[in-house]
């Protein structure tokens, strides 16, 4: 896919996520929107190895969505690349649906159940360690929220991964700077975030998490990282990216727009579909 195609794809995915959440009246729209370019790069951009017709394929890379509240985004992406029919998205949070607000691992293509924060990095460590033990070549990539980095368990796992030099593991922190009730730096400061990871034995890269250029520059060659320290990518993003009135507004956390706001959001995203 060309960059123009990926951009178009990202806009399409935002539309899908919005439609799902508006129809359901719930879902973490803004948490999903900040990670769109990251997931599109992974799944549409060819970074991850997977087989949508065989979700349990042994050789697949393991993508661990530790920030499980972004489940609408992962579900939309998985449907879009063919893990299950797109119609399932219309049943998000419905009685006859197969998924809801937080991630569940019985959905084709999903590796873990999450929603409780601070779990995914340790699980990723176990998967990466097992790959080393069994001499398997899959990569393990975990996407964390930045607010999630307030969890102590993240740092237990970070220390463990650094110690074991799991070079087959990449953590991406969606640094949208907002958690539930405000800015991370006002609540409990995370900065200097990259330095924290480095001091735990990681290599840290900071990028614009909405720039395909920067994402591919950092993640495009993860398979050639053998012998290096584990990689964390601090992806600076905008929470709610794509809908002007939701961007960087923490009170939109966990909410789907309704009524007039839903229409405005849809109109904005639709208009952007035509952008180059």
């Amino acid at each position: 896919m060309t960059q123009a195609d990926l951009k178009k794809k990202a806009r399409g995915i935002r539309n899908m996520v919005l439609d799902m959440c508006v129809a359901a009246g719930t879902g973490h729209v803004t948490s999903s929107f900040s990670s769109v370019e990251i997931l599109v790069s992974l799944y549409h951009g060819g970074i991850l190895r997977y087989d949508a017709s065989n979700p349990g394929w042994e050789g697949r890379d393991r993508f661990i969505l530790s920030k499980g509240q972004a489940s609408p985004l992962l579900y939309a992406v998985l449907a879009d690349v063919g893990f299950f029919p797109r119609e399932k998205l219309n049943r998000f949070c419905k009685a006859d649906g197969i998924f809801g607000v937080h991630l569940q691992n019985d959905v084709p293509g999903v590796e873990i159940s999450s929603g409780s924060l601070g779990h995914g990095l340790g699980i990723a460590a176990g998967l990466a360690l097992a790959a080393k033990m069994d001499k398997k070549s899959y990569e393990t990539i975990a996407l964390l929220g930045d607010g999630e980095c307030h969890e102590g368990s993240i740092w237990e796992s970070a220390m463990f991964i650094g110690h074991h030099r799991l070079d087959n593991l990449v953590a991406i922190v969606d640094r949208n700077r907002y958690c539930v009730t405000g800015c991370t730096e006002d609540i409990v400061s995370l900065e200097p975030l990259g330095k924290k990871w480095e001091s735990f034995g990681w290599e840290a890269a900071t990028i614009d998490g909405h720039s395909f250029d920067e994402i591919f520059h950092t993640l495009g060659a993860i398979r050639s990282r053998r012998g290096k320290r584990p990689l964390v990518v601090i992806a600076n993003t905008v929470k709610g990216k794509g809908v002007s009135f939701m961007e960087n507004k923490y009170h939109w956390h966990g909410l789907a727009p309704k009524g007039r706001e839903a229409k405005t959001a849809k109109a904005e995203l639709t208009a952007r579909m035509e952008e180059p």
Binding site: S116, G122, A125, G126, A130, F160
Partner: protein, 314 residues
């Protein structure tokens, strides 16, 4: 006389299985054991020490299990259960993964170490988890068998090991698939117990027989799922039931038995003997704490006699 601890026989048995199956992994949260030294030496690639980081131990175990490993995680009981409980819930129970939580130090095993190291809540919290099997052995032969059983389980399990070296009750080749054993019959009263307290139950039953009370003893070693049908069969026609455990009164074995009785419309008088609703900073050994809790054989006998006396009056 037995000189082997549950911990050592358990890890010895895991070692034997792990030698045949490289997918068996042990993770320790900086805890040692002679049997683990051997494991660490001979099966280096199957042993991980995560340091004093129990939450990470559970999440790493979950990831390993997702990749096809059979994982044992090991620490002092409160730290491998209540400390990382939510990790166990989400990453083992909810995802239904083959990880065995091995806790050492049931009840007041770590006597002088105080309430931080006492484990008097674990049965309550672990048995409430869906998919979880809860095993509470009363001797080393059963413990060794549980290690082997755990290696073949498809879902999560929890093994509640005592730290004290206990006498044996069973034979090496006994079968423990039914979930409970009736060790002694008695039509007046049945004491249902688990773990170390089975030994005290047997002692109390003997003392009660001197008062012409025919007291039976059931060792309920599978606390979840309980084999209710077999349990009810074993207490059919028995006049009274006593539960005995070194665990807080709320939520443990006594509660589990009360649930079975209530759910099966079996309205037999029930007395629950357990740790009162408080913590114990008490020294001078486990027996001393048991005496303070009225869980030693003499106190248990007295409690039962008092209860029977009250029953007779009413």
């Amino acid at each position: 006389m037995n000189t082997i601890s549950m911990r050592d026989i358990f890890f010895d048995a895991v070692y034997s299985e792990a030698k045949k199956d490289r997918n068996i992994i042990i993770i320790s949260a900086d805890m040692g054991a002679p049997a683990l030294d051997k494991f660490r030496r001979d099966l280096k690639k199957q042993f991980i020490n995560v340091g004093i980081a129990e939450e990470n131990m559970v999440t790493v175990a979950s990831g390993l299990a997702l990749a096809g490993k059979k994982v044992f995680i090991y620490a002092i009981m409160p730290f491998v259960t209540s400390r990382c409980y939510e990790m166990i819930k989400v990453d083992l129970s909810l995802m239904n993964l083959p990880v065995t939580v091995v806790g050492v130090g049931a009840g007041f095993s770590y006597d002088d170490s105080g309430p931080t190291h006492h484990s008097t809540e674990d049965m309550a919290i672990m048995r409430t988890l869906p998919n979880m099997t809860v095993l509470s052995p009363s001797d080393i032969f059963m413990t060794a068998r549980f290690a082997k059983m755990a290696c073949g389980m498809a879902g999560p399990s929890y093994v509640r090991l005592d730290r004290e070296v206990l006498p044996t009750i069973y034979d090496k080749d006994d079968d423990f698939s039914s979930g409970l054993s009736r060790l002694k019959s008695g039509k007046d009263l049945m004491i249902i117990s688990t773990g170390n307290m089975v030994h005290i139950a047997l002692d109390a039953a003997k003392k009660l027989s001197m008062h012409s009370i025919a007291c039976g003893v059931i060792d309920l070693y599978k606390v979840k799922p309980i084999n209710s049908a077999l349990l009810l069969k074993n207490i059919a026609g028995i006049k009274r039931v006593v539960t005995l455990e070194e665990h807080l009164i709320s939520g443990g074995l006594g509660s589990a038995i009360a649930e079975v009785l209530a759910d099966n419309n079996r309205m037999v008088p029930l007395k629950r003997l357990a740790v009162p609703d408080k913590y114990y900073y008490a020294y001078g050994g486990r027996k001393n704490i048991q005496t303070l809790c009225r869980l030693d054989a003499k106190s248990v006998t007295k409690e039962v006699l008092d209860w029977l006396g009250e029953e007779r009056k009413t």
